[in-house]
Subunit: 323 residues, 2 copies
């Protein structure tokens, strides 16, 4: 039994009850205002073919699932945010405007080449007022400061942080509905590691779980699969790329192919935890393409070639949408 939207009613119910029970997003009005300004600016800017500039929402980093309402403990999903940050830089370079929806504290665009402890390693004060960058880190610092500031000042990069699964999904919904009018020129590039399981807010303990009385049993519910809603209701005309991360290479392509069919996204980027920096497989209805970094070029990263491929596919999609 299907409802008008094409979503099964049971999925719709699950999703509605997820949002109804979520703690409300802080600063929602502010976020909407910022998003609208960013979208308007870029829709009226000149992109290729007399259209507005293309806009991509890149999600990055892992979402957390609180185990207590006044949160001391939570379940987290491993993700450095490197993929999202590197992809963002490449999308900007390709002429896109990027909404970077990222987990607080994860890797930022243009900052990938900074060392772990940049204030300890990059700078020195030869006297009390003048700061200097060590030559070995000059390019990394320049990119983090100049390139990043330029992208933001030109209205090509908007950074929005989240921590919990509740914040992430509410913000994704705001962005998706806000981009509806951009139609086929908008893209969702969903690289964030989104929790599959959560503790429903209403059934969560208010205070810190007490230790000292034997083992702890936790029952986690499944997070409703929002990809279906994104594709069918929130932004049905947007180009949509999802990600599949597995640790077991034997089941990776099978699971990515299954996700492609189930959520009707335009491609699934399949990556295995241990080799994810060297190669990914783009799974789509036109076949599977292995994407690697360029061998022999130490500066080359897999995202250079991945974004080139995705942008090509997006161009084809836009052309086909207008015919």
């Amino acid at each position: 039994m299907s409802s008008i939207s094409g979503l099964e009613e049971v999925v719709e119910d699950e999703i509605n009850s997820f949002f109804e029970s979520s703690p409300p997003l802080k600063n929602m009005d502010k976020i909407i205002e910022t998003l609208n300004r960013f979208t308007e600016l870029n829709s009226s800017s000149q992109g290729g073919n007399g259209q507005g500039r293309r806009i991509v929402c890149v999600t990055s980093g892992g979402t957390t699932v609180p185990l207590e309402q006044r949160c001391v403990r939570y379940i987290d999903n491993f993700s450095s945010g490197n993929r999202g940050a590197a992809s963002t830089e490449n999308f900007v370079k390709a002429g896109y405007a990027v909404i970077f929806l990222y987990r607080r504290g994860t890797c930022q665009p243009y900052c990938r080449s900074l060392p772990d402890d940049p204030f300890l390693e990059c700078f020195e004060f030869p006297d009390k007022t003048n700061i200097q960058v060590h030559t070995s880190h000059l390019e990394a610092v320049k990119s983090a400061v100049m390139d990043q500031q330029t992208a933001i000042a030109e209205g090509r990069l908007l950074k929005l942080p989240f921590s919990t699964i509740y914040e992430y999904l509410q913000m994704l919904r705001l962005i998706a509905t806000g981009l509806k009018d951009v139609g086929p020129c908008s893209m969702f590039y969903l690289a964030a590691a989104v929790s599959d399981f959560y503790v429903p807010w209403n059934s969560m303990t208010e205070h810190k779980i007490e230790s000292g009385s034997g083992p702890l049993d936790i029952r986690l519910a499944q997070v409703p699969k929002m990809l279906s809603v994104l594709r069918t209701i929130w932004a049905p005309k947007a180009f949509c790329i999802s990600f599949k991360l597995e640790t077991d290479s034997k089941i990776l392509i099978e699971k990515a192919t299954k996700a492609l069919g189930k959520y009707k996204v335009h491609a699934v980027v399949a990556n295995e935890l241990s080799s994810r920096k060297e190669q990914v497989v783009v799974v789509s209805s036109s076949g599977n393409v292995v994407v690697r970094c360029d061998s022999g070029e130490p500066e080359s990263i897999v995202e250079d070639n991945l974004i080139r491929l995705i942008v090509d596919r997006h161009s084809t999609y836009i052309k086909e949408s207008h015919t």
Copy 2:
């Protein structure tokens, strides 16, 4: 029934089996070498009263508990690391050498006043080779660069990162046994948010837990209480401060007092999640002392007064140990 060490046998068994089943620490030899050099340097440096310099191990940030061996998901403990970072600065100022055992990615000493996104907000390049710090952030950047580099260059600050509960406890054991000879002049200031529950490594699934088949049940075992071992075996002569964080102020002091008796630490710093930046209560056998930041001084932080009190108590402890 007690064993020779004063620890109950059942606790000793639990602890041994925890360490035996832990994944081995990477770079263990390197860490031991660095620790030994740091300890020797500071033991032979001149502190007060003809003794070597006092050494404190400050632990900071939360430990993670992996839910899968090839870790995609984990349980985390909330902690920004602000307390540990601020305390470290104050200990250095008070003449101590500090081993800062911190969670990767959490707040660093001398970096508390930096904005969230320092490369975006603190700097500009007026031309392509010269970097400038915005006047409003000059003091924050100077502290992060100059004060931090000075403390490290003088051998007064050693930073050691951890992520998992396995890394944390193995490193704490190395530090404690390495400081044994420093005796009463050593201190443990245990501000890290250590997991109470974990999934024993041997019973953990190797691959990513699959979603898609209903709710997920997780059974977590209790982490053995290492404070007892630290006090009785690893470093019995060290001055030892532990922390108690609760979200429910009604049970806070009661639980801190219980911990004081159970682990025989020299003081427990009790803090409540919502007011922890304004005040803490130092619970010890000589009574409870409320410590606040100085009202009317906007720069004052609670750690200024807290470390002053702890250092006084440590001085008394050292004097009494030598009589």
